[in-house]
C-alpha cells in the first residue's frame, strides 16, 4: 500500500537504472463511508474494480484493513447505475442529523427514500437454532417479545411516516410462535397498510391448520396476507447445514396447507457459496410447480448475526446469483432478464417477472420472462431517459420493480395489467395481447435477488437510499442493513431485554484470530478488542480545513 518515500530519488545509484512506475491492479470508482466490522466505528471506504469484480475496502485505525466483494460482475454493477429513481420524502422523520450516516438512524432527514417495506420483529425467540440466522435468534432465555401496545405503536410510526403504507412484514425470531401474532396482523389490517407479510420458517404452518386457516381468513382481496417462507433448497445437506435439521417434509406440508387456505407464498432462500448455490434452478422449478408459490427470493447470506465462516473476498453477490440462475436454467433465463430495482440503490436488488404455463418437467411447459416482452430499460433508466414512451407503464413498472412488490396483492396484480399496455399491439390482427396478459396474472411469477449488506459490505451510499426499514419498539425506522450491521440490533435487544448484548462481529476468515462465541452462537471480538460503544464519532472526517 505504500510507495516510495516523498523526496526519495527515482534514480537508483546502486544499479544505475531508472525505477519503473507500476500501475495499480484496480480501478478506483467510488469514495464512501463504511464501518469497521469489528468495532463498528465509521470509517472511510473506497470501491475499486479488480479482475472484473467490485470490492469495498476500508481501514479502521484500531483493527486494520478490510476488503469484501460487493458485486461479482463489474460491468453489471456500472450498468445498474442508470436504474436509480429519485427518492420520495417520507411524511415524517424520526431522528435528527447529528453524527451523519449510519449513526443517526432513523430515518433521519438526510435519508433519500421513504419506506417501501416496514419490518416488525415481534420476538427474538425461535423454534429453530439455525446455524445461519442474521437475527441471532433461537431457543434463548434472555430475549424479548413485543406487546400488542408496542406493536400498535410501531405500526402507527410506520403509518405516520408513510401515510398509506404498502407492506408491513412481521418477522422475528419466529413470529408465528408469538401468542398474539394474529392480533398483530389484525392491528396492521386496521390501519392504512395495504398488505401484510409473515416471515416464517413454516413449522407452525405445517402443523397447525387452524392457524393457517386463520391467516387465510385475514387474506382479503384488498388487504392481502402473504407468507414469506424460509426455503433454502431441496437437498437434505442444505437443510442440515443452514437450518440444523431436515425440514423438507415440514416445508412441503406448510406449502400445501397454505395452498389449501388460499395463501400466496414467496420462497425465500438464504444462499451461501458452496452450500446451496447450486439449487437456485431447482428452487425456482419447485416454486413454479406448487400452487401456493408465486415468487422466489434469493438472498446471499447476510453475514450479520450467526452464520458459517466465510471469505469476504469470495462471498456471493447479486450478479453471482443472476448468472447462476441463467446457468442453471438456460432454457428459461438469461442474465439480462433481471433488472435492478430503482427505488432502493440499484445494486441492492434485482427482479424479474415471468409468465408460465403448464407444469415444470412436463411437455409444453413454457416460461416467458416479462422483460423480453417490453423494454424495461426504456422505462426504468432514469439517468439517460428523459423521453419515456408511456408514463403509465413506467409507473406500473416502478411498482413492480420495487421492494414493496409482493405477489398476491392487488397492487401487483393491477400493475402487471397496467404494464401489459406496453405490449403495444392492442387488437393487432384481432388479438389483444395486453388484455390476454391481464388475464394471465395468476400465472405471473416473480424472482427477487437481494444482497443485504453486512458489517463487511456496508456502504452508506446504498444505505442512505434503503427502502426496507426495521420498525423499532422505540419508534424509529432503521434501514435493515444498518440495523443488522452498525449495532442497532444489539442496541434494541439490550434495551428491550435488559441483558447486555455485545456487538456481533462477522464470522469472517480473516477475523478468526480475534473472534470468540457470543451466548447466541454468533461471534464477538475477544476481550480487549472492544474499543468503546457502537457508533462513536467518525474520526477520519473531522470537519475542519487543512492544517
Amino acid at each position: 500500500m505504500t510507495g516510495a518515500e516523498p523526496g526519495s530519488s527515482l534514480w537508483s545509484a546502486s544499479t544505475g537504472a531508472a525505477q519503473r512506475k507500476q500501475d495499480r491492479d484496480e480501478v478506483f470508482v467510488e469514495y464512501t463511508k463504511s464501518i469497521c466490522p469489528v468495532c463498528k466505528v465509521v470509517v472511510d471506504g473506497q470501491v475499486n474494480i479488480r479482475d472484473g469484480k467490485v470490492f469495498l475496502r476500508k481501514r479502521c485505525r484500531e483493527h486494520g484493513l478490510f476488503e469484501a466483494l460487493v458485486y461479482g460482475d463489474a460491468q453489471m454493477y456500472l450498468d445498474s447505475a442508470r436504474f436509480n429513481k429519485p427518492g420520495t420524502i417520507p411524511l415524517t422523520f424520526q431522528t435528527e442529523v447529528v453524527d451523519g450516516c449510519p449513526s443517526d438512524c432513523g430515518l433521519c432527514p438526510e435519508h433519500k427514500q421513504h419506506a417501501c417495506l416496514g419490518i416488525i420483529e415481534v420476538n427474538t425467540g425461535c423454534n429453530l437454532d439455525c446455524p445461519i440466522c442474521f437475527a441471532d435468534s433461537g431457543h434463548q432465555p434472555d430475549g424479548y417479545s413485543i406487546t400488542l401496545e408496542q406493536c400498535e405503536r410501531m405500526l402507527d410510526v410506520f403509518v405516520e411516516s408513510e401515510g398509506e403504507a404498502e407492506v408491513v412484514m412481521f418477522s422475528g425470531g419466529e413470529p408465528t410462535i408469538h401468542p398474539r401474532i394474529l392480533e398483530f396482523i389484525d392491528a396492521a389490517q386496521a390501519r392504512p397498510i395495504r398488505s401484510v407479510n409473515l416471515n416464517t420458517n413454516g413449522i407452525r404452518l405445517a402443523s397447525d391448520k387452524a392457524f393457517v386457516a386463520a391467516l387465510g381468513r385475514r387474506n382479503q382481496p384488498a388487504w392481502a396476507v402473504n407468507i414469506y417462507l424460509q426455503f433454502d433448497g431441496l437437498e437434505e445437506r442444505t437443510h442440515r447445514e443452514i437450518r440444523g435439521r431436515d425440514l423438507r417434509a415440514i416445508k412441503r406440508r406448510a406449502l400445501d396447507n397454505c395452498a389449501e387456505a388460499g395463501l400466496t407464498v414467496t420462497l425465500v432462500a438464504a444462499v451461501e457459496r458452496g452450500l446451496n448455490d447450486h439449487e437456485l434452478g431447482a428452487i425456482i422449478e419447485y416454486g413454479l410447480a406448487h400452487p401456493a408459490v408465486r415468487s422466489v427470493s434469493f438472498q446471499p447470506v447476510t453475514h450479520s448475526g450467526r452464520h458459517v465462516e466465510f471469505d469476504p473476498l469470495t462471498r456471493l453477490t447479486n450478479s453471482d446469483i443472476i448468472h447462476a440462475v441463467a446457468a442453471q436454467l438456460p432454457q428459461w433465463f438469461q442474465a439480462r432478464d433481471f433488472f435492478p430495482v430503482p427505488c432502493c440503490f440499484p445494486s441492492c436488488r434485482s427482479i424479474t417477472y415471468l409468465l408460465s404455463e403448464g407444469t415444470p418437467g412436463t411437455p409444453g411447459f413454457t416460461v416467458v420472462p416479462i422483460p423480453r416482452l417490453l423494454d424495461v430499460e426504456d422505462y426504468l433508466d432514469y439517468l439517460s431517459n428523459r423521453v419515456v414512451p408511456d408514463f403509465a407503464v413506467r409507473e406500473a413498472l416502478e411498482k413492480l420493480w420495487s421492494a414493496s412488490a409482493f405477489m398476491g396483492t392487488d397492487t401487483t396484480r393491477d400493475r402487471l395489467t397496467q404494464a401489459a399496455a406496453a405490449l403495444d399491439c392492442a387488437d393487432a390482427c384481432g388479438i389483444n395481447l395486453p388484455e390476454a396478459v391481464a388475464n394471465l396474472e395468476d400465472r405471473a411469477f416473480m424472482i427477487v435477488i437481494q444482497d443485504f449488506q453486512d458489517p463487511y459490505t456496508l456502504n452508506v451510499k446504498q444505505l442512505m437510499k434503503c427502502c426496507v426499514e426495521e420498525i423499532t419498539p422505540d419508534g424509529r425506522l432503521i434501514p435493515f442493513c444498518a440495523y443488522n450491521s452498525a449495532g442497532y440490533r444489539e442496541q434494541v435487544r439490550e434495551h428491550m431485554s435488559g441483558v447486555p448484548v455485545a456487538d456481533v462481529v462477522p464470522n469472517a476468515l480473516p477475523l478468526r484470530p480475534i473472534l470468540t462465541d457470543s451466548p447466541y452462537g454468533s461471534k464477538v471480538a475477544q476481550e480487549g478488542d472492544r474499543v468503546g460503544p457502537s457508533n462513536p464519532r467518525d474520526a477520519t472526517n473531522v470537519g475542519r480545513r487543512i492544517r
Binding site: 416482452l373 423521453v387 384481432g430 395481447l433 396478459v437
Partner: protein, 270 residues
C-alpha cells in the same frame, strides 16, 4: 412460419407492409409496434455519432410513432422533423409530441422515402433506423437522404444486414413476408449505395447482438400468443410448430455473420 400469406415481392407491397404497423398483419403482434433492434440505447448511440447539438435540424426518416424523434428532441434538444408513410403513425407521433410537451421542437409529415416532402439541404443531420432496408429503390432513397442534408451534414443509418443468397431456407422463405429480411443487404453494399449517392461513409459498427435480443423478444411474444390466443394466431397463419426451427435458423445465421445489424454514418461533402 406462414404459408397462408403469400410472399409479397412487389415493391409497393413491401412498403405497405412495413408502413402498416397498425394494420392487420400478425408481425406487429410478434415484433411490438415501435420496436427496433437495440431499442433506445442504440438510438442514443446513433445520435451521439451524429454529434447532435442544441437546435440542430434533424430529419427522422420512417419515424414510426416518433419515439426516436422525441428522444432526439427531448434529450439532445434537436429540432426534429419526422417523416412516415403511415397516416396512423403520423397521428400517433403527433399525439406523443403533445403529451411529452415537445410540439414546438417536432413536426411529423406524411411522406415517402422516394420523395421526401422536405426542401433541399435543409437538415444538419438525417437519421433512418431499421427502415432503409425496406425501401424498394435504395439508390433513389439514398439520393433523397443526400439531397436533404446540408453540405457537411451527417447521415446516420441503423439497419439489418444480410447476405440474401446465404440465408438459410427457413429464413429465405420468410423474406417476402418480413420486409426487412428480404430487402437487407450486406454492410459493404450499404456503404456502396451511400457512396454512389455522393456521401462519404465515415464510420460503421456492428451490433449483431441487438438482433439476437430481438429474436428473444419474438420468441417470448410467440410463446405468449400461444399461451393466450393460440387458435386465433393459427387462424392468422402463425405456425407454432415451425417457429422454433425458424428462430434457430435465424440464430445460426447471426452466428455465421449472414444476418446482423449495423450502424453507419456518412457525411455530405462541403
Amino acid at each position: 412460419m406462414n404459408e397462408a400469406i403469400p410472399p409479397k415481392s412487389a415493391a409497393a407491397e413491401t412498403k405497405a407492409c412495413c408502413a402498416a404497423v397498425y394494420g392487420s398483419d400478425v408481425m406487429p403482434l410478434l415484433l411490438g409496434g415501435s420496436y427496433h433492434p437495440g431499442g433506445l440505447a442504440l438510438t442514443r448511440r446513433l445520435a451521439e455519432q451524429l454529434r447532435l447539438c442544441r437546435g440542430d435540424r434533424v430529419l427522422d426518416v420512417a419515424t414510426g410513432r416518433g419515439t426516436s424523434a422525441l428522444l432526439l428532441a427531448g434529450e439532445y434538444h434537436a429540432d426534429v422533423t419526422g417523416v412516415d408513410l403511415s397516416p396512423a403513425n403520423i397521428a400517433l407521433a403527433s399525439d406523443a409530441a403533445r403529451t411529452t410537451g415537445l410540439v414546438d421542437q417536432t413536426r411529423f409529415l406524411l411522406g415517402d422515402a422516394d420523395r421526401l416532402p422536405v426542401e433541399n439541404a435543409g437538415f444538419d443531420a438525417v437519421m433512418c433506423e431499421c427502415a432503409f432496408c425496406t425501401f424498394p429503390s435504395k439508390p433513389t432513397a439514398a439520393a433523397e437522404l443526400a439531397r436533404v442534408l446540408r453540405p457537411g451534414g451527417l447521415l446516420g443509418i441503423a439497419d439489418v444486414t444480410a447476405e440474401p443468397t446465404a440465408l438459410p431456407p427457413e429464413l429465405s422463405g420468410l423474406s417476402g413476408w418480413i420486409a426487412c429480411l428480404g430487402g437487407a443487404r450486406p454492410l459493404p453494399e450499404y456503404t456502396d449505395l451511400l457512396t454512389a449517392a455522393g456521401l462519404t461513409v465515415t464510420h460503421t459498427e456492428r451490433h449483431d447482438a441487438s438482433i439476437t435480443a430481438m429474436l428473444d423478444q419474438v420468441e417470448a411474444r410467440l410463446a405468449l400468443v400461444r399461451m393466450t390466443a393460440r387458435d386465433q394466431a393459427e387462424a392468422l397463419g402463425v405456425d407454432f410448430d415451425r417457429a422454433p426451427a425458424v428462430l434457430a435458423a435465424a440464430r445460426t445465421a447471426i452466428g455465421d455473420g449472414v444476418l446482423g445489424y449495423a450502424l453507419l454514418t456518412a457525411r455530405k461533402p462541403e
